[in-house]
Symmetry: C2
Subunit: 365 residues, 2 copies
């Protein structure tokens, strides 16, 4: 096993001891990639990584054994299509030495049928999800991960600039997104997502980029992320075409101050809820509290959404190495919606922004 | 609601009655797309469609309400990031009129945390997966689905031909896959998957297409599928470059006969296991039983793998409209592996092949 994976497995076992966890069960997911460098064919055949204090091994479909063997030297418990996974699962569970009525951690992202296979085999298990074990470890990025996320963010700055530079009368949201997607591809990255919203469409936080055409006086919101060398980016910037709509400048200013307040609150030892509150208080004081429809942010690592989540109720304590978005938004139905999003890392006691792009509104046209 | 969705919902309730099901719970998945034309942003925020005999509605993150409303007129039970989904879930469950200790169907593909949210809220539920309700309905394609799958298959024939036509000395597997991916794109389709295997790589049923270069005497296996107008294709053909490796012709012939035998066995009223056995018996009789590592096939519809699965143990009874693959393979480690795959539909009492491409080995070079 490579040194990074050996370290991660040792760290996981330390967290298991600290949280009194008997068994961690991981499905085909970014958790599996993080722990074992394996990203299996994601079909309906159960694939599970199980880690106990004394053992780690895979439940593995027989037809994937040869391919998977190239990625990991952990033991496999293979099962054939004709037999189903039950017998192999029983052997794997026995090998883990899991006690009766164990305390287990389940990968919250895995398919329901995979998880229930395990829960049914382990009568009386107490279960948690991965937040305080694998999720916790993943939330504290090491130096190599910081470098990868920084490079990804800087490339994303250029992708964002290319998107705004493409604005012209009657261009569609979809065409702008295509410019950005092509930019990622030309630079060796892949598109993670790309949301382009013109005018009133920006008031839907999860608007589907479509055939809406740009016209003078539209607000423009672009929320985009690529992936390069395994790590993603995620950033939102706003602008307008021709003249800014009524109220744009004031709302942009409120959001910019909300981002600054959240960044100031994001210190080691602070809780995630403190960061959410810092942003939300600015927006509420400006009279837009009911128009900020979502949490302030989410963690970013191998996944574009992962621990820690920056919500009004989260008691997660921020630590060095944690990476997350700060993305307050104000949505005015029928008019426009604005959001400003930075990815920050807690580093040397402060929240450092990964992007080099200012949050200034981009004037197009 | 459009007439197709109204019919599907009525059919689901009839199956629920026949299977004594009190509640069907569907996550963001192809099941949700099939029942409600909704394919939500697939993040960690719980989205659930619940259907009871008297009610259907969605648990929905507040920030997705506006976007989702454009796809469905079913009622939403929205929840905000700051509150979490528990209260909205309780309201939705109350609206469904679900009895105590209900018999529920869970979408097997949904995230584990979504499913456990429901199971924890419904103490004492008896649970099944969707195989005999939504899965059953989806397995019997209507005429519009048949047309879509046929068109997708015929386009895939041309993609496959383009892939084999690209073979030349030293070309990599990845480059051939790029030819096929570009073909899909140029024809308005998207790539679902594309596996290209040269020489010994074909002996791994789930080989990752890579940098291996083609050389004279290599067997070539291409398993590829695209998607157009919402429906996918999936086909495997084999060939060789220059001269065929020792044993190629004989194994190709065994597989071709196995496909024919399975097609002959695939009749309304037959069981899926009968189809598997028909293919497997031919291969076993030829002495290659241990080299046929997987099931004979899988259903194909909105998903490239869905009900019915054609396995040695499946008692699923085949019916008119069912669509599935027949794909026997023989894998010789260190030498090569061959597989021949057809998609068939049970139609007018027989298994009709969707592709128009012969299964003849393609001679390249």
């Amino acid at each position: 096993m490579n040194p990074t994976l050996t370290t991660r497995m040792a760290n996981l076992r330390a967290r298991m001891a600290a949280t009194k966890t008997d068994l961690v069960v991981i499905g085909p997911s970014s958790h599996m990639l993080y722990l074992a460098d394996l990203s299996p064919h994601g079909d309906e055949r159960p694939v599970l990584l199980m880690v106990s204090p004394t053992f780690a091994g895979f439940l593995m479909p027989a037809l994937n054994v040869d391919s998977a063997r190239q990625h990991t030297d952990l033991p496999f418990f293979p099962w054939a299509d004709a037999d189903g996974p039950d017998a192999a699962l029983a052997e794997l569970l026995a090998a883990t030495g899991v006690p009766a009525a164990p305390s287990i951690v389940l990968d919250e992202t895995m398919r329901t049928d995979f998880a229930l296979l395990v829960l049914d085999a382990l009568g009386g298990a107490t279960r948690r999800f991965t937040t305080d074990t694998v999720g916790y470890l993943r939330s504290r990025k090491d130096d190599a991960e910081y470098d990868a996320l920084k490079k990804s963010a800087v490339l994303n700055d250029a992708a964002m600039a290319a998107g705004f530079a493409a604005l012209r009368p009657d261009i569609t949201e979809y065409e702008v997104a295509t410019v950005i997607r092509d930019f990622y591809k030309a630079n060796g990255a892949t598109t993670e997502f790309c949301s382009v919203c013109f005018g009133p469409n920006g008031a839907f936080p999860h608007h589907h980029t479509g055939e809406t055409q740009l016209k003078a006086g539209d607000a423009v919101l672009i929320d985009t992320g690529g992936r390069i060398h395994g790590y993603p980016s995620d950033m939102t910037r706003v602008g307008y075409f021709g003249t800014a709509p009524e109220g744009f400048g004031q709302i942009h200013s409120v959001l910019d101050r909300a981002v600054e307040a959240a960044i100031a609150a994001a210190r080691p030892g602070a809780k995630a809820r403190d960061v959410d509150k810092a942003a939300r208080d600015i927006i509420t004081a400006a009279g837009y509290g009911p128009n900020f429809l979502h949490r302030t942010g989410h963690g970013l690592g191998i996944d574009i959404h992962e621990t820690p989540y920056i919500t009004a109720t989260s008691d997660t304590v921020l630590e060095e190495g944690m990476v997350f978005s700060i993305e307050p938004g104000i949505y005015l139905q029928g008019q426009f919606g604005l959001r400003l999003e930075e990815i920050v890392i807690i580093r040397n006691g402060v929240a450092e922004i990964l992007s080099d792009m200012p949050r200034t509104a981009v004037a197009g046209g």
